[in-house]
Symmetry: C2
Subunit: 272 residues, 2 copies
C-alpha cells in the first residue's frame, strides 16, 4: 500500500537527501513585512534548494500572521512546490508545520484545510488531546502526520520529560501511543536534534518510525550526533529540517547542497 | 492592574452571564459551504446572542478550512463583535479557539496573528511545548490565554490522565505549571464539562484560575454538575461555551437567554 512515507522514501532515494527545507519567512528575514515579500522569499528558496530537498516544510504561523493574504501566499507556495516537483521529475512532499490539535469535529476541519484546501501531504500535530484528535488526519494513508514527541525548544522538558508512574518519560509514552495509533503507517514523530539522549530513547522505543528532527543549526543541535542517534538501520527514517541555516546564507543553493552532502558523508562514516 | 480576566469579569457582571457563545460554523450547519455563508451564520448568532454573552469564541478551524477567504471572514466576525460591544455598552471579549503551540520564535508570530492581525483578546493554547511556547502570548496582561488542561473529548485520557511518578495526573501537573507561569494573571485553563471528577481535582489544585468549560450540551456534559464542580467561591471563574446547542436551536436568542438564566438559577441554588 502506498503511504505518505512511501512517497517520502521515494523522494529520499531520488535526491539522495534527508534535508527538509524549512520555509519560515520570519518578518526579520524579509525585504519588507508584506505578503508579497513572503512569497518572494519562499519562491526563491524553493527554486534554489529543490534539487536537494527531500521535503519542504512551510510553517503556518509566518503566513497566518499576514491574515487572509498570508493564506493566499501559503497556497501559492505549496502550488509552487508542486510545480517544482514536476520539473524535478519526483514528488517533493510538503509537510505543513502547523502543530494543530483539537477535538474530532474540529480536527476534521483542520485536516480538510491542510490536505484539501492547501494541498499539503503531511502535517505536524500535538498529541495532547489523544487519539480521536489525530484520527481525522490519518484516514488516508497517502497523507501523513508528524506527532510532537520531544520538541527542540528549551521548555520542552516542562511536560515532555515528566516521569510517569510506570517509569517512562512522557515523550516515550507518546512514542509508544503513536505506534498503537499507526494502523495505516502514516504517523511519524517530531524529535528535536537538541536532545540526543531523548532521541536515543525514542529510537529504541520506535525503531521503525520516521522522525522530523528540528533544531540542527540555529537552535544548536549537532547534525552528526543527531543522525547517529536517530537514523534507522536502513539509513532513512529522519528528515532534517533546516530553515534559517539555509535562508540566511549568502548562497542558499550551495548551502543546501553542502548539507545534503554532509548528511551523506555522515551516513557513510556511520556505516563503517 | 487591568488584565484580560478583569475585562472578562466586568463583562460577566454587566450581562449577569457566564455563557460563552461558540462560533463554530460547521459546514453541515451552513446554508451552503461558502465563506459568505460562514459570515452570515456568525453575524446572525452574534446579533441574537450578544446580550447574554460573557464572551464569544470563534473556532479558527471552521474559518481556516475556507483558506484566505475564511480568514477574511474571521477578521470580519471579530470586528462585528467589537461593534456589537459598542452597542451593548460593554466590551465582550473574544476568545480565539485555536489551540496553537509552537517554539518561541513561531509562537511570537501566532501571538501577533491572534492579538494584532485578528484583534482577539484571548486564545486557547496547548501546553505540550512548555513555558517558552506560552510566553509570547502572556506578555501583555490585557491579553489572555486558556491552556488546555483536561479536554472534553473521549481521547483526552490518552495523555492527560496519565499518572505521574509523584502521584499527580498529567492534567493536574498542567494546572500547577499554569499557576507558576501566571505572573501577570492572564492564564486560565480549559477543563471539560464531561469530566466532573477531573474538574473537582483541578479546582482544588487551582482555586483562583478561570476555567473555559466546553462539553455542555452536544458533548453530553451536564451544566449543574459542571458549575458545582468548577465555580470559584465568588461565583465566577467559569466560562461555559455553547456552540451547536445555540446555533442549531429554532430561536438562538431565546435559548441563549434560557442558558444565561439556567446558570443564574443554578448559581443561586448552589449558594443556599
Amino acid at each position: 500500500m502506498e503511504t505518505f512515507f512511501s512517497f517520502l522514501e521515494k523522494r529520499v532515494d531520488d535526491c539522495s537527501s534527508l534535508l527538509c527545507v524549512g520555509l519560515d519567512p520570519h518578518v526579520s528575514d524579509l525585504n519588507e513585512p508584506s505578503p508579497a515579500s513572503v512569497l518572494d522569499f519562499c519562491l526563491d528558496l524553493i527554486k534554489q534548494t529543490a534539487p536537494y530537498a527531500a521535503a519542504f516544510k512551510p510553517n503556518a504561523a509566518f503566513f497566518e500572521v499576514f491574515g487572509a493574504e498570508g493564506w493566499t501566499v501559503l497556497k501559492q507556495v505549496i502550488e509552487a512546490i508542486d510545480e517544482e516537483s514536476k520539473r524535478q521529475g519526483s514528488l517533493i512532499p510538503v509537510v505543513l508545520d502547523a502543530k494543530r490539535g483539537d477535538i474530532a469535529s474540529t480536527a476534521e476541519a483542520y485536516a480538510k484545510s491542510a490536505f484539501e484546501s492547501l494541498g499539503a501531504h503531511c502535517i505536524t500535530l500535538s498529541p495532547y488531546l489523544g487519539k480521536d484528535s489525530i484520527e481525522p488526519f490519518i484516514q488516508d494513508p497517502e497523507k501523513g502526520v508528524f506527532l510532537l514527541c520531544k520538541t527542540s525548544n528549551p521548555g520542552s522538558g516542562d511536560l515532555q520529560d515528566i516521569k510517569l508512574e510506570d517509569g517512562d518519560l512522557l515523550y516515550e509514552h507518546v512514542a509508544k501511543l503513536a505506534q498503537t495509533w499507526n494502523a495505516k503507517n502514516n504517523i511519524g514523530l517530531v524529535v528535536g536534534a537538541t536532545h540526543i539522549e531523548a532521541m536515543n530513547r525514542v529510537r529504541a522505543s520506535a525503531p521503525d518510525l520516521w522522525f522530523l528532527t528540528p533544531g540542527v543549526g540555529a537552535q544548536g543541535g549537532e547534525l552528526e550526533a543527531a543522525l547517529k542517534a536517530g537514523l534507522r538501520k536502513d539509513g532513512k527514517g529522519m528528515l532534517i529540517p533546516i530553515s534559517r541555516g539555509i535562508s540566511r546564507a549568502e548562497n542558499p543553493k550551495v548551502v543546501a547542497a553542502e548539507i545534503r552532502d554532509q548528511i551523506l558523508n555522515i551516513k557513510r562514516s556511520l556505516k563503517q
